[in-house]
């Protein structure tokens, strides 16, 4: 009973809480990093160096009046934020944060579950996240959110293709769809897939930016164009859910990138003997560090680049990334067969 129910339940609780905490502090980190990039200080008022700012933000959002626009489709309007939040959280079920650890005399694996179709699960669940955005745009009964949700869905669907194709080439290398299996195969092959699949890695990163609606692909919520995008009409907790979902998705993308391309919880150069002192650092620390690097990149890009235009975004997705991903996939297959 303990093995079957209690431990998974505890894991779920820990992961969910860690995620939500991580998401709120991700917001603070973003504000701080962007502020430093722009020679500002960022939040400084709540707590020392503003470390309690997320708490204040959460309080504000929770206590704020929850407004439903007149003639909005109330039912769908309430459902939409939930539909975008749930997939973002459910994905964490298969993300391996680390190897096994010994805790209270038990061997506990640092992932909620390791399923046979792990990677496929990630792709499918995230593909459902688009509903939240489309339905939010539709149900707000307002033109700007509608335009934004159209943009968003076109963008998400287009870049999903490129991302999935890069994932296929990773699967070709690992021979398994299981997230844990992908990490262990990187250990056994002794190389992170970022080095043997650099093209896939880059495409995944760009696609990840687009999938999470981050700059320079933040068209669906481009404040300057669409007055806030699909969540223009949202306020209070429902807005907070969209907000959390976006940042949770960022963490998902960086976790998946870490797992697939940067060896998950493995230390750098997992098979080089004289670097084995790096093994002192526990695996989950490596995982967090690598994910953090990704998140930092996300923020850095946002502070640097202007925004693409809708047609340019589509052109980049369909005419550059997808053909490149397909070429990379074919090349990987050929090389793999030739080597076998």
């Amino acid at each position: 009973m303990v093995e079957l129910v209690l431990i998974p339940l505890l894991k779920i609780i820990v992961v969910l809480n860690a995620t939500l905490l991580g998401v709120t502090y991700m917001v603070l980190l973003e504000r701080k990093v962007i502020a430093w990039a722009q020679s500002r200080l960022g939040p400084m008022r709540v707590g020392p160096y503003g470390v309690l700012q997320p708490v204040a933000d959460a309080m504000k959002l929770m206590l704020k009046e929850d407004i439903t626009p007149a003639r909005a489709d109330k039912w769908v309007f309430t459902l939409a934020p939930i539909l975008s939040m749930v997939p973002a959280l459910v994905v964490y079920a298969v993300i391996p944060f680390g190897d096994e650890v010994h805790l209270f005399g038990r061997r506990i694996s640092l992932y909620i579950t390791d399923i046979n179709v792990g990677l496929l699960y990630v792709v499918s669940v995230t593909s459902v996240g688009v509903y939240g955005i489309i339905l939010a745009g539709y149900s707000s009964n307002s033109k700007w959110p509608l335009l934004a949700s159209l943009r968003a869905s076109a963008q998400l669907i287009s870049y999903e293709i490129a991302i999935t194709l890069t994932l296929v080439s990773v699967v070709l290398m690992s021979g398994t769809l299981s997230m844990v299996g992908i990490v262990t195969s990187q250990a056994s092959q002794g190389v992170w897939y970022a080095f043997i699949q650099p093209m896939a890695f880059v495409i995944f990163f760009i696609g990840g930016l687009a999938e999470t609606n981050r700059a320079p692909f933040d068209l669906p919520e481009a404040e300057q164009e669409l007055t806030g995008g699909f969540h223009t009409e949202y306020s209070g907790m429902r807005f907070a859910l969209f907000f959390l979902a976006e940042y949770a998705n960022m963490i998902v993308v960086s976790s998946v990138a870490t797992t697939l391309f940067l060896g998950g919880w493995l230390r750098p150069f997992p098979n080089v003997e004289f670097l084995s002192f790096l093994g002192i650092v526990p695996g989950w620390c490596w995982f967090l560090l690598k994910s953090f690097i990704f998140l930092y990149l996300f923020i850095w890009v946002r502070a640097t680049l202007p925004r693409y235009r809708y047609d340019q975004l589509m052109r980049l997705g369909w005419k550059v990334l997808i053909p490149l991903a397909i070429a990379n996939l074919i090349l990987t297959a050929i090389v793999k067969v030739a080597l076998a």
């Binding site: 179709v117 593909s127 459902v128």
Partner: protein, 170 residues
């Protein structure tokens, strides 16, 4: 026990959402119920040990096809208010009667022709790999390669056809 609970809960959800899909006044609500329905079906597949089909169900149906429906519904809805569900017309009575007849017929067949339990397992093809995904993949790329290729051709044709149809004539 757990299996039975899972089955009954999922079956109830599937049928309930299906009824809502058919009866919802607003087509957008129909689409939302359809998504939920398909997610429940995917969960049912998981309980049947068909993880790959479940994942494909979510990816293709819930994440792909229904998005297309949602687009079209939104396009149509934006321009005019949703029409109410008109039950009780001549069509509806006839249709419900027909559907009921089919249900009765199928149920009769099902009940009277109890399947002989478990066709011999030896009928299964021996597949040199383990794991649901690998097995399905193996079958798709060996015994069912031709149908698989035909299906991909079909998808290609459908894609071209859809683009041609939906394109605005200029």
């Amino acid at each position: 026990m757990a299996e039975a609970i899972a089955f009954y809960v999922l079956a109830a959800c599937i049928l309930g959402f299906a009824v809502l899909v058919v009866t919802a006044k607003n087509p957008v609500h129909s689409v939302v119920f359809l998504v939920l329905d398909f997610l429940c079906v995917a969960a049912l597949y998981v309980t049947l040990g068909a993880e790959f089909v479940a994942a494909i169900q979510v990816l293709v149906y819930a994440g792909g096809i229904v998005v297309l429906y949602l687009f079209v519904v939104m396009l149509v809805n934006v321009k005019r208010p949703p029409e109410a569900f008109r039950a009780g017309g001549r069509h509806a009575t006839l249709g419900l009667a027909l559907a009921g007849a089919v249900l009765v017929e199928a149920a009769a067949i099902a009940v009277w022709s109890r399947l002989s339990p478990a066709a011999p397992a030896s009928a299964a093809q021996t597949v040199p790999v383990s794991g649901n995904t690998e097995q399905v993949g193996w079958l798709l790329y060996t015994s069912y390669l031709v149908p698989f290729e035909v299906a991909s051709m079909l998808l290609l044709v459908a894609m071209v056809g859809a683009i041609v149809l939906a394109r605005k004539e200029s």
